[in-house]
Each structure stands twice: as structure tokens, then as C-alpha cells.
Amino acid sequence: MAAEGGWVWMYGVADDDLETFADGAAGVGGAPPRTITAAGLTAIVGDVGDREYGEAALRRNLEDLDWLAQTARAHHAVLEAVAERGPVVPMRLATLFSSDAGVTGTLQERADDFREALSLVSARNEWGVKAYAVKPADPAGESGHEVAGREGPATGPGAAYLQRRRAQLTASKDVRREALASARTVYAELSGFAVSSRFYPPQAPDLAGQQTPMVLNAAYLVADERAGEFTAAMADLTARHRFVQLTLTGPWPAYSFVSEGDGPGPR
């Protein structure tokens, strides 16, 4: 039960045969995760203090990137530990109750939804696929000269500069167009191996640790038995598409496929 003045942090929901869950990750705020069982379901929860996780503190702390990072990693670590034992439906970060009764009530009220979500994610995992636009490593300067040649000789340093600049812009537009076309192909081909897919907004270059713009940030729900085919397809697409650099992350718990109203990604 939650300590006086504390809150119950809810990580996710699993089947009710998860009673043995006790070890593993430290949990959000350092408290070991525990379980609450109701309606044939098990909620994975942890006790957190009001000083750090109360409403006002939480609002403030969520603005603190270091705090947010630590909390997100702790939330994720617990869900991963649960996922090793069986299907788990993750809750969105910062789902908090004032007591166990609130969690029990939610399990009871939403039992059908949770069961449906559990069967959706059972024996399936999420994979992340990102594509960055890159200039293929071929003689890039050549195309610039061709364009300049077509437009006639430059009559001075200023005109030459403008022609060069125009050629550069054209080249970078082409790179982007090619990258988007590749991303579209990659997205569609990988969808063939997935149960469902979803787009995330592209991440800002600084944040993603890449200099090149991201043109695809997608998540796929893939049956475990097809994970090999999926990753093989990724490798094949990587070899075939020169205008995008592809990265694969996962397997993840199925975060992206349990939110209400998301539905399948665009087709």
C-alpha cells in the first residue's frame, strides 16, 4: 500500500499469473515495483513520495530534463523486466493514484480494454525505424558543374557564385526528394511484415544526435516469429537505398500501439 502522503505509480498491466514478479529493476523513485491483482489482471505499481511526485512537484519535475530522463528510464526498465515474463500493456509516463484502491478500480472498470490490449501485444514487440536524408557518397561536385554548364558560362565571380549556389540548392532539394521517396518505400515495405504501424514526428537533428534531417520516424508492431524477417528486410533496404540512412531500435514493449484512438498508422 502507498505510504502516508505518497502516491502509487502505475507502470503497466499484465496477465494475472505475474505473481512472482519481485526482483529486477529498482523502479521509479527507487522503490521496488510490486503488483496489484484485480479482475484477472495484474497492475505493476510502485510507491513514490509526495515531495517528488505530488501534483505540483511533478509538474515542475517534468520540466527538468535530467529528472525526466531518469524517470523515463526507470519506468522503461520495469516494463522491460515485466515484458521478459509475458505480455505487458505500458501506461503513459506519470500515471499516478493516491491509493491502491484507485488502481484496483481502474483494473475493474477497464478490464475488457486491458485484456484486448494484452492480446494485441502478446507475442509481439515494437520496433522503431528512423530514416535520415543523406547525400550519397559519389562525386557530388560533378552535378554542380553540369548545371552550371547548361546555364552557360559565368560572366563574373558574382554570377559564378550564384550559379554554384543555385546548383547546390537544386542538389539538396533533389537529395531531400530522393530521401523522402526512399523513406516512403522503406515504410511501405516494412509494413508488410508488421501487424500495425505508427508515425512519430521526426526528431530535431540536434536531439537525435545526427547532423542530417530525419525523414521517417516510425514504429511497427511485429509478431516475434516475424522479427527475423523484419530485421532482414531492414538490412536489405539499407543496402538498396543510398539517399537514406536507416536505424533500427528495439524490441520495445508495445508503447506505441496501446494508446486509445491511435489506431493503425497511415497506410
Binding site: W7, L62, R92, A94, L96
Partner: protein, 70 residues
């Protein structure tokens, strides 16, 4: 076959924070807990951490555009 551009995250390797935040802030089941920050405030967090959410145009928008014209 793996090329230089193929970069799977190996189990146990440190996951990029940005990929994790995509998922824990925009994924997961949303329920009304006793603190309902999980719905409204987290969206505000995404706005205030501008660096995290600076939207750049990508395939998603390009696809939206192409749907308009097709």
C-alpha cells in the same frame, strides 16, 4: 547483411533518450489517474521542452501534402 547505415540497438545498450521519450510521453495507455498530468500536462511538457519537439518536416508531412494533391 549489415551495412554501415544499419544500426540496430543491441539489447542492453543504452537506449537513446529521445526514442524513449517519444514512446513514454506519446505512447502507453492513457487513463485518468488521481493525478491527471498524464494527459494534459505531459503535452505541456512537450511544448516547454522545445528542443525535444521542434517539428521538422518529414515523411509524415510529405505524405499529408501528397494526399492533398492526389
Amino acid at each position: 547483411m549489415t551495412g554501415p547505415g544499419y544500426d540496430p540497438v543491441i539489447q542492453g545498450e543504452r537506449i537513446a533518450l529521445v526514442d524513449l521519450l517519444d514512446r513514454v510521453l506519446a505512447g502507453g495507455v492513457v487513463i485518468v489517474g488521481d493525478i491527471t498530468l498524464s494527459i494534459a500536462e505531459v503535452d505541456l511538457v512537450r511544448v516547454s521542452l522545445r528542443a525535444l519537439v521542434t517539428s521538422i518536416s518529414g515523411l509524415m508531412e510529405a505524405m499529408d501534402d501528397s494526399q492533398e494533391y492526389s
